[in-house]
C-alpha cells in the first residue's frame, strides 16, 4: 500500500468521511467539507473522488435506509477501510511533520 499516495482533495474527503463517523453519506460529507474549508466543493468532483477512493480500496460503502425527503431513495454511507486509515494516518503525519515550526503562517492569516 505504500505505493499509493493521496491527493490533497482525496485527503480532505477522507477526513470529512472520518469526521462524520456513522453519518458519512454524500450530502453530509459535502456539508462537512463546505463548513470546514474555504473551498467551493463541486458536487461532481466530490462524488467522483468518493468513487475513486472506493475503487482504490480506501473507502467502503453500504446502502442505508430510504427516507422520504430523499424521494424514497437510500443513502450510500461511506467509511474508511483499514488501508484508508493507514494511508490517511501516514499522510497526516507527513503533513504535521512538515508544519512543525511553521504554525505562525496559519495564525498570521
Amino acid at each position: 500500500m505504500a505505493s499509493k499516495s493521496l491527493g490533497e482533495f482525496e485527503q480532505m474527503v477522507l477526513l470529512a468521511v472520518l469526521r462524520r463517523g456513522d453519518d458519512a453519506y454524500g450530502a453530509a460529507v459535502r456539508d462537512e467539507l463546505t463548513e470546514n474549508t474555504s473551498r467551493q466543493i463541486a458536487r461532481g468532483a466530490m462524488y467522483v473522488t468518493l468513487d475513486r477512493l472506493e475503487r482504490k480500496g480506501l473507502l467502503r460503502s453500504r446502502m442505508g435506509e430510504p427516507t422520504p425527503e430523499r424521494g424514497g431513495r437510500a443513502k450510500r454511507y461511506y467509511e474508511l477501510s483499514d488501508d484508508g486509515r493507514v494511508l490517511l494516518r501516514q499522510a497526516g503525519r507527513d503533513l504535521m511533520n512538515l508544519w512543525q515550526g511553521q504554525e505562525s503562517l496559519i495564525d498570521d492569516a
Partner: protein
C-alpha cells in the same frame, strides 16, 4: 423524469446503487418544502452535472490492457470494451475532427428524429380510443344525407355505426355571445368511439326522437371555459342556439381531449331522424354526413365494404335521383386513422425521404473526413499492426470510433429535435390532425438510436475496410482500388447534391408562386368580420333581411368604410352548395350528369367591394328586390362550357333541380373560392335582397387596421342586437395565407432540408475532390520532374477529377427527375419537369468541383517537384 435521471446516472457511474445514493443526496439538498418526490430544476441540473463529471472521469481513466487468452469469449468482450473505451476518448484526442463529424451527424440524425416523431404521432400511433383498430370511416360512394344513416343501422359487419355532421351554434348567457363548432351525431356515435362522458350521460334513444327536448353534450374544454368546470351545469338549460333550436339541456360533459375526428369540436347534439320518412333518401339534408363505425371482431374491411355496397344499392334503388348507380362502385370502408391522416401521409413520407437523403450526405461527408484522417493515422495503425494487432482488431477500433461519433451526433440531434418539436408544437396543432401529439416518445428515441447505429456502419465501413490494408504504402499514393473508392464517393456526393438542389429549386419556386397567385380579385385592404345572426328572432327571412339592412346602413356610416358588403361565404375559406341546373330548359340525356354550379348569396355592393371585374351584362343592383324578376350573376367558369362568348349567357334562364328559375343578368370574372390549387369553379351569385338567407360576413375595403374595424363593426352590431356574436376581423390576405398554410409549411420544411442537403453535399463534393487531388501530388510531381508543364499537369488532374463528377451528374439528373415526380403533388406554379432547375444545377456543381480540383493541383504544380517528393 426521476427514473430517467436515475438511469442516466447509473449509466454514467456504472452502478445503480451509486446512482440511487447520488440522486437521493441531490433530492435531499434541493428538496422543495412540502413535496416528497418532485425534483426541482436545480436538482435536475445538479444530477446532470454530476453525471457528466462521472462520464468524463470514466472516459479519461487509463485503459489497462490486460489481454485474456486470445480467441476466448472473454477476449472478445475485452477487445470490444477496450476499443470502445479508447474510442470514447476520441473527442478529446482530435477535437476539431470530432466536432465537425458530430455536428454533421447531429444535423442528419436530428432532422430524421424530428420528422420521424411527426410521422410517429400522426400516422403510426393508434388513435386514443379502446380497440381503435376497429374504427372505420364508411363512405357509400355519394355524399350522405341524414335519412340514409337509418339504412345503415343493424348491419352485420359493424358493432356500431353512426352518422356525424358538422354543426355550428351560438352560446349566449355566459358573457359575450360566442360562436361554437360542434358535431351533430346519430345514436350510436359514442358507442363507436367507446368513450364515456366524464360527467352526466350519453344521448339516449329518446334524445333522437321527433319532438324530444333538445339536448347537448359539452366538450371538457368548453365546459371549463364557459362554465368554469361547474358540474351543476349538467341537467341545466343553456342558451345554445342554432338555426332550429334556441336552448338545449346539457346531459353530460365529455372527457378532456375527446376529439374523435380531430375537428376541435366543442359540443355534440343528437340528430333527430323521423322514422316516418318513406325512403331513406327523402330527407334532403343541408349538411353532408360522414359515417364512422366500429367493426365487429370477426368482420374485415373487405366484408364491411361489401355490406356497405349492398346497402348503397338499396338506397340507390329507392332514391335513383339522389344517388347515381355509378356511385356504388366508389363505396368504401377505410380504417379511420388512415382516412384521417390521408392528406398528411404523402408529404410526411416525402419529408422522411428527404431527411434520409440528408443523412446519407452527412454520412458521406463524415466518411470522407474519416478517410482523410486515416492518412494521418496510418502511422499509428501501422505500429499497432506491427505490434500484433489483427486486422479485425483494427477494424473494431475504427468502427468503435464511428459508433462513438454517431452516438454523440445522435444525442445532439435528439436534443435539437426536441427543441424543434417544442418550437413548432403550436403550429402543428392547427396544421394537421394529431399534430398536437408530437413528442419524443420511446419509439422516436429507439428510432434515433437505430439511425445512429446504422449511420455509424454506413460512414465507418469504407474507412474500416481500407484500414484493413495498412500495407499500402503511403509513398506510392493510392492504389487503384482506393482511387475507385474516392471516385465513387465523388459521384455519390454529386448525385445527391443535384437531387437536393433540384428539389430545393422546385420547392422555392412553389413558395414564390404562392405569393404570386391571382385570386381573381384585389385582396388589398379587404377585411372580413363574421356576424352570425341566429336564434328565434331571425327565423323569419324578413326579420333577417331587416337586421342586415340596418347593419349595412350603420356600418356604411362609420367613417373610413366606403362600401361595406355582405356575403354568405368567403373566398378561400368556405365552400358553397352545389346545385344541378338546366339552361333554357335544355333536356339532358337520361343518366347523363346535369351541370352543377356553386351558389352564393351576396349583397349588391359585393362585386365592387372585392373588385371583381364584370365581363358582360350588369351586376346585381338595388332594383333586384323581392317581387321583381329573380336574377343571378354567373362567373366566367359557369358561362364558358355553354356559351362561346360571355355576352351570350346574358338573358338566358337557369332552372335549378328545385324548379326555381333565374335569369342571368351578368357575367363576372371567377374567383378561386376553393383555394389556390383549384381554378375558379362554375358559380352563381344571387342577391341578398331576393334571397334573404343567413349572411355570415361583413366585407369592407378600408384603410383602417383590421382590429379597429372589427371593434367598430362589433359596436354597431351589438347596438342593434347584443345577442348576435361577432367574430374578430380578419384580413383577406390573412385568409389567403391560412388557406395555404399547410402546403406552405411543407414547402418551407422541404426547401430548408433540401438547401441544407445541398450545402452539405456541396461541402462534400469540394472536400472529396480536393482530397483526391491532393493525394495525387506525388504523381503530379513526378510528371513535372519528367518535364510536363504546369498547365498540362493541372489540366490532367482536372480531367481526372471531373470524370466522376460527370457520372454523378447524370445519375443525379435521373434522381432529380424521379424526385420531381414524387414532389408533384406538393408543387404549385411549377411543373416537376421544369427545365431551368436541372440545367442550372449540374453546371453549378461542375464549377464547384473544378475549383476543388484546381486549387490543390495548382498548389502542387507551383511547388518544386523535388520538395514534394522529399516530403512524401
Amino acid at each position: 423524469m426521476n427514473r430517467l435521471l436515475e438511469f442516466v446516472l447509473a449509466l454514467a457511474t456504472g452502478s445503480r446503487a451509486q446512482a440511487e445514493g447520488l440522486l437521493g443526496d441531490i433530492a435531499e439538498e434541493n428538496s422543495i418544502p412540502g413535496t416528497t418526490n418532485a425534483l426541482s430544476v436545480g436538482a435536475v441540473l445538479a444530477a446532470l452535472t454530476v453525471a457528466a463529471t462521472f462520464a468524463v472521469a470514466r472516459i479519461t481513466r487509463p485503459v489497462h490492457r490486460d489481454l485474456p487468452r486470445p480467441g476466448s469469449r472473454d477476449a472478445m468482450m475485452t477487445v470490444l470494451t477496450q476499443e470502445l473505451r479508447s474510442a470514447l476518448r476520441l473527442p478529446w484526442r482530435a477535437p476539431g475532427f470530432a466536432t465537425a463529424a458530430v455536428l454533421t451527424l447531429a444535423l442528419g440524425i436530428g432532422a430524421n428524429t424530428a420528422i420521424f416523431s411527426l410521422v410517429n404521432a400522426v400516422v403510426l400511433r393508434p388513435l386514443p380510443f379502446p380497440d381503435s383498430e376497429q374504427l372505420v370511416r364508411v363512405w357509400p360512394g355519394e355524399a350522405m344525407t341524414k335519412g340514409w344513416v337509418m339504412a345503415f343501422e343493424n348491419t352485420e359487419s359493424f358493432s356500431a355505426l353512426a352518422g356525424v355532421s358538422w354543426a355550428s351554434a351560438t352560446l349566449s348567457g355566459t358573457g359575450r355571445p360566442i360562436e361554437l363548432r360542434g358535431g351533430e351525431v346519430s345514436e350510436q356515435f359514442f358507442a363507436v368511439t367507446g368513450v364515456a362522458p366524464a360527467h352526466g350521460r350519453h344521448f339516449a334513444a329518446e334524445d333522437h326522437a321527433v319532438g324530444a327536448e333538445p339536448t347537448v353534450l359539452l366538450s371538457h374544454e368548453l365546459w371549463m371555459r364557459a362554465f368554469g368546470g361547474d358540474t351543476s351545469v349538467v341537467g341545466q338549460l343553456v342558451e345554445l342556439a342554432d338555426d332550429d333550436v334556441g336552448q338545449r339541456r346539457v346531459v353530460g360533459v365529455m372527457p378532456a381531449g375527446y376529439q374523435p375526428l380531430y375537428a376541435q369540436w366543442e359540443f355534440w347534439t343528437p340528430v333527430v331522424i323521423d322514422p316516418q320518412w318513406d325512403y331513406p333518401g327523402s330527407q334532403m339534408s343541408a349538411t353532408a354526413w360522414n359515417m364512422v363505425g366500429r367493426l365487429r371482431d370477426e368482420a374485415t374491411i373487405d366484408s364491411a365494404t361489401a355490406e356497405v355496397a349492398v346497402i348503397g344499392a338499396q338506397i340507390q334503388e329507392s332514391a335513383p335521383d339522389r344517388m347515381a348507380e355509378s356511385a356504388l362502385a366508389r363505396a368504401v370502408t377505410v380504417p379511420l386513422l388512415a382516412d384521417m391522416v390521408d392528406d398528411e401521409r404523402q408529404p410526411l413520407i416525402l419529408m422522411l425521404g428527404a431527411v434520409a437523403l440528408l443523412l446519407l450526405i452527412a454520412c458521406t461527408n463524415v466518411a470522407n473526413l474519416l478517410l482523410a484522417r486515416g492518412e494521418a493515422r496510418r502511422r499509428e495503425l501501422s505500429i499497432r499492426s506491427a505490434l500484433g494487432a489483427s486486422r479485425r482488431r483494427l477494424a473494431a477500433q475504427l468502427l468503435s470510433e464511428s459508433l462513438v461519433l454517431a452516438l454523440l451526433g445522435g444525442a445532439l440531434g435528439v436534443a435539437a429535435a426536441y427543441g424543434a418539436i417544442h418550437y413548432f408544437r403550436r403550429d402543428l396543432i392547427n396544421l394537421m390532425p394529431r399534430g398536437g401529439e408530437v413528442a419524443l416518445d420511446v419509439n422516436t428515441l429507439l428510432f434515433a438510436l437505430a439511425v445512429s447505429v446504422l449511420a455509424s456502419v454506413v460512414f465507418g465501413m469504407l474507412p474500416a475496410i481500407r484500414a484493413q490494408r495498412p500495407t499500402a504504402d503511403a509513398r506510392h499514393g493510392d492504389s487503384s482500388e482506393q482511387r475507385r473508392a474516392n471516385r465513387v464517393l465523388v459521384a455519390v456526393e454529386v448525385a445527391l447534391a443535384i437531387v437536393f438542389l433540384a428539389g430545393a429549386g422546385l420547392m422555392l419556386r412553389t413558395l414564390s408562386a404562392f405569393g404570386d397567385v391571382d385570386p381573381g380579385f384585389d385582396t388589398n385592404g379587404v377585411v372580413a368580420v363574421g356576424v352570425n345572426a341566429v336564434g328565434d328572432n331571425y327565423d323569419d327571412p324578413y326579420a333577417l333581411h331587416g337586421f342586415f339592412v340596418e347593419v349595412e346602413e350603420e356600418v356604411a356610416a362609420i367613417p373610413g368604410i366606403p362600401a361595406p358588403a355582405f356575403a354568405m361565404s368567403l373566398p378561400f375559406g368556405d365552400g358553397s352548395w352545389g346545385w344541378n341546373y338546366t339552361i333554357d330548359s335544355d333536356s339532358y340525356a337520361e343518366g347523363a350528369p346535369m351541370p352543377n354550379a356553386g351558389f352564393r348569396v351576396v349583397s349588391t355592393s359585393y362585386f365592387d367591394t372585392l373588385g371583381i371585374p364584370l365581363l358582360a351584362g350588369r351586376l346585381l343592383d338595388a332594383d333586384d328586390v323581392h317581387g321583381a324578376e329573380e336574377v343571378v350573376v354567373v362567373n366566367d367558369a359557369f358561362a364558358r362550357p355553354h356559351f362561346e362568348r360571355a355576352e351570350d349567357a346574358v338573358g338566358r334562364v337557369i332552372t335549378l333541380n328545385t324548379d326555381d328559375s333565374f335569369r342571368i343578368v351578368g357575367v363576372v370574372q371567377g374567383i378561386r373560392h376553393l383555394g389556390f390549387r383549384s381554378d375558379p369553379v362554375p358559380e352563381m351569385y344571387r342577391s341578398f335582397n331576393q334571397h334573404p338567407t343567413r349572411m355570415r360576413h361583413v366585407v369592407a375595403r378600408t384603410a383602417m387596421d383590421a382590429e379597429s374595424l372589427g371593434e367598430a363593426i362589433q359596436a354597431v352590431v351589438w347596438d342593434i342586437d347584443p345577442d348576435v356574436p361577432v367574430r374578430d376581423a380578419i384580413t383577406m390576405d390573412e385568409i389567403m395565407r391560412t388557406s395555404v398554410h399547410e402546403a406552405r409549411l411543407f414547402a418551407q420544411l422541404l426547401s430548408a432540408f433540401a438547401a441544407l442537403g445541398a450545402v452539405l453535399a456541396g461541402i462534400g463534393v469540394y472536400g472529396v475532390v480536393a482530397y483526391t487531388v491532393s493525394r495525387s501530388r506525388r504523381a503530379l510531381a513526378i510528371r513535372m520532374a519528367l518535364g510536363a508543364s504546369a498547365s498540362s499537369v493541372i489540366r490532367r488532374s482536372l480531367r481526372e477529377a471531373l470524370a466522376p463528377v460527370a457520372v454523378g451528374a447524370v445519375a443525379g439528373l435521373a434522381g432529380a427527375a424521379a424526385a420531381g415526380e414524387l414532389l408533384a403533388s406538393l408543387l404549385f406554379g411549377v411543373t416537376p419537369r421544369d427545365p431551368v432547375t436541372p440545367a442550372a444545377v449540374p453546371l453549378l456543381l461542375i464549377a464547384l468541383a473544378s475549383a476543388a480540383a484546381w486549387l490543390p493541383s495548382r498548389r502542387a504544380a507551383r511547388v518544386d517537384p523535388a520538395e514534394v517528393l522529399r516530403q512524401e
